[in-house]
Amino acid sequence: MWYFNSPNIVYGEDALDFLENIVGSKCFVVTDKNIQDLGYLKILTDKLEKLGKKYDVFNEVEPDPKEEVVLKAKESCLSYKPDLIIALGGGSVIDTAKCVWAIYEFPEFGIDDLHIFNNDLYELGNKAKLIAIPTTSGTGADATYAAVVSRYNDGVWQKLIQAHRGLVPIYSILDPIFPTGMTPNLTLDTGMDVLAHSMEAMIANGRNEFSNALATKAIELVFTYLPIAYKDGKNKEARDYLHQAATMAGLAFGNANVHIGHTTGHCLGAVFQTPHGRCVGLMLKYVTQYCLNNPDKDDPSTEIYSKLAKQLGWAKWDDDDIKAANIVIERIKELFNKVGFPEKIQDLGISREQLEKNLDSLVNLCFQDASGSMSPRLPSKADFENIYRYAHEGKDIDF
């Protein structure tokens, strides 16, 4: 027995109009000031007013949402008593809204209670439905059951990854009007996050037929439309498909997990304060090579990536699996070159000395990152160190 969790998904031009069909009259909107300044909040509130729905806005979410902000939003939500909670924004906003939704339903819960073994969370949705409206095309947070919240503990900011299948939003509304305003660099970083989610989900330990189908399509869409959206952010078709790809990838990794690309990327980002999508995108080809080099012949990664290359028309159906799987690596390199994405850690402005000085911390963090255990090949301490070293120099992984 296993599961596949998904929100109800409404997508395409004018998807926002679907709000009319969702029963509920009192909306608690969770967002951030940037979304407000960009005019996106007004698009939503104009729609709500037109539909005769009342609303209250909490706009204090910041990147890497802090526990106290989540609890403040919870208090506002409890006093407003909505029957709909709407998250309008990127991953931080959606993660905040997931936590608020859960604690609104169960006011006695704290953040620590939002964990995978808390079966009460399957009952979410009695007081309010959660609607996620992503404004970026990357995190897939609208389709996953995890929420990342930062807590200050013993002098350091700790990222708590809270997760439960009940935290999947009831609706995900993918209206391409929102990502059209993304800058080229944000388009690139978030697009590479989509690619990393999909590629990792295909071979992660939770992989399944549902997740692989979605990951394959998301990869195809990223390769087709990311270069177009990067060059021409107003291209509606490219924006629409990339927005869909982000949610497909969210469904894929939300149900299959990510693995050491995200482990090494998370830790790199945490130590050197580098954007998430840039880090996980950069690490992708290195960890993919590492998995393809697995001496354990029972690891199906080579076969899975070979099939991917053949399905996408990158390899011939009679190519052997090793050759075909390695074409995937070549295609990733070509995509990076095409859009000017950083290929090695030194491209992020991190010197070898800085890397070596922080290597122990990086590897210790890697061992404490839950995604690391989902890899088909489990790195030792020395392997983690060498993956970082090779990625710093831009060398192909040969171990």
């Binding site: 964990h115 330990n205 939770g206 210790n364 061992f367 404490q368 839950a370 489990l378 030792s380």
Partner: protein, 133 residues
């Protein structure tokens, strides 16, 4: 070695300490564990065993007698048949808990940072010659 005997448990503790990757992955870990194997299939009585785990080392193992209290931070319980699936790597420990095949009591936030360490404990078991019931 017959599973759930003192000899088997001692070998399990030694295998954890002989696994260098467990030592690396759990270098930060502090928290003893009680494993409760409930009757199912060929097991007709409850068996409990203690794993002392501190900073990447298995500091001690012992079978826990009925009624005996032990100081642990985590308790992992489930039917024998599901433990066998874990031991044979047919079922991932975390997936086992998520799907209700095993039950866990303890600090979940801490445990979620230790999924790799938990995996290495199971990997260590692969090096113990185990005769199942």
């Amino acid at each position: 070695m017959k599973i759930l005997t003192k000899e088997w448990l001692d070998a399990f503790g030694k295998a954890i300490n002989d696994n260098p990757t467990y030592s690396e992955a759990a270098s930060w870990w502090e928290g003893n564990m009680l494993c409760v194997i409930e009757p199912s299939g060929p097991l007709d009585r409850e068996v409990r065993f203690f794993l002392g785990l501190y900073h990447g080392e298995c500091t001690g193992v012992k079978l826990v007698e009925e009624g005996e209290e032990v100081d642990v931070e985590f308790t992992l319980s489930g039917p024998y048949d599901n433990w066998v699936k874990i031991a044979k790597k047919e079922l991932d420990t975390i997936q086992g808990v998520m799907s209700g095949k095993l039950r866990l009591v303890g600090n979940m936030a801490k445990l979620m940072r230790a999924t790799r360490a938990a995996q290495e404990i199971v990997n260590s078991l692969q090096n113990v010659e185990t005769e199942f019931l």
